[in-house]
């Protein structure tokens, strides 16, 4: 047990749950579906972080590992990204994507909880060993789900935030939304970079990336929902 693999993920988890609380409060005020999906996505983020902290503090547990892989590795980005799709598109086909995501998530749940695990394969030569990795899942067809969900989630969440930021900037309108979306985009990219550096053998990179991601997205959300003074000429 180290500070890196317990404190960092537990802190990221706590921030995610607090973030989710603020998002749900706004959802109950506004009743907009993107807020509901973002809230659910941040709950997934918090569950993932909690499972990582649990692994750091108490070691291997198959149920906690499956929870981590389902919520932290597969679903979180896609559900957050689906929220952004609801925010920006507002068309009927978005409901079709939502149904696909829900069915895909149920399929992921089934695959992860029926997969065979081998904790001796948790670390590889490139991995630091201080963070959870998906290598312990030995059943074929489970880990291949992850890039599909994460690609969809990253493109929609980060791409949507960049697009929103650009639209507001072009019109020089609602500065707080422009700035907030940049924070959200950077925060959403942080775990992806953390994961890449972790695979390359940089210790703690994943957990640092996830903590930074939770903090920056929280700042971005608060910034985007709190108007700031603008000097307009």
């Amino acid at each position: 047990m180290t500070i890196v693999n317990t404190l960092l993920p537990f802190t990221a988890s706590a921030i995610s749950f607090i973030f989710a609380y603020f998002v749900f409060v706004r959802y109950f005020e506004k009743k907009r579906p993107h807020l509901l999906l973002w809230g659910v996505g941040m709950i997934f983020y918090g569950v993932g972080g909690f499972c990582e902290g649990y692994y750091g503090a108490f070691g291997w547990n198959p149920f906690v590992y499956r929870l981590w892989y389902l919520f932290g590795a597969i679903l979180v980005a896609a559900w957050l990204g689906q929220g952004t799709v609801y925010l920006l598109a507002r068309r009927n086909w978005v409901h079709g994507l939502m149904i696909l995501l829900a069915l895909g998530s149920l399929w992921g749940l089934f695959k992860v909880f029926t997969a065979e695990l081998d904790p001796s394969l948790l670390t590889t030569s490139l991995h630091t060993g201080s963070e959870l990795s998906g290598h312990a899942i030995v059943t074929p067809g489970v880990r291949s789900l992850t890039p599909i969900f994460n690609l969809y989630g990253t493109v929609t969440l980060v791409g949507g935030a960049i697009y929103s930021s650009w639209i507001f900037f072009r019109k020089r309108f609602l500065l707080h939304r422009t700035v907030g979306n940049i924070f959200i985009a950077v925060g959403a990219l942080a775990p992806a970079f953390g994961g890449a550096f972790s695979r390359a053998g940089v210790p703690a990179a994943l957990y640092i990336g996830e903590l930074l991601g939770a903090i920056l997205m929280f700042i971005g959300f608060r910034r985007a929902t709190s108007p700031m003074e603008e000097n307009q000429q």
């Binding site: 980060v158 960049i162 020089r172 500065l175 695979r199 603008e230």
Partner: protein, 49 residues
């Protein structure tokens, strides 16, 4: 005939006028780079353990 101007009359504070387009550009490059990288892995051009 009216002349179209891509830059509106309204302006953000100077810092944001300079910082925001740079940030958006860098982020867009990163996302496009990630997509190309993912595509390269998908078609087998890059082996990633």
């Amino acid at each position: 005939m009216s002349e179209k101007n891509s830059s509106p009359d309204r302006k953000y504070p100077t810092f944001y006028e300079k910082f925001i387009p740079i940030a958006i550009f860098i982020l867009a490059v990163i996302v496009v780079g990630m997509l190309i990288f993912t595509l390269a892995i998908g078609v087998g051009a890059i082996q990633f353990s």
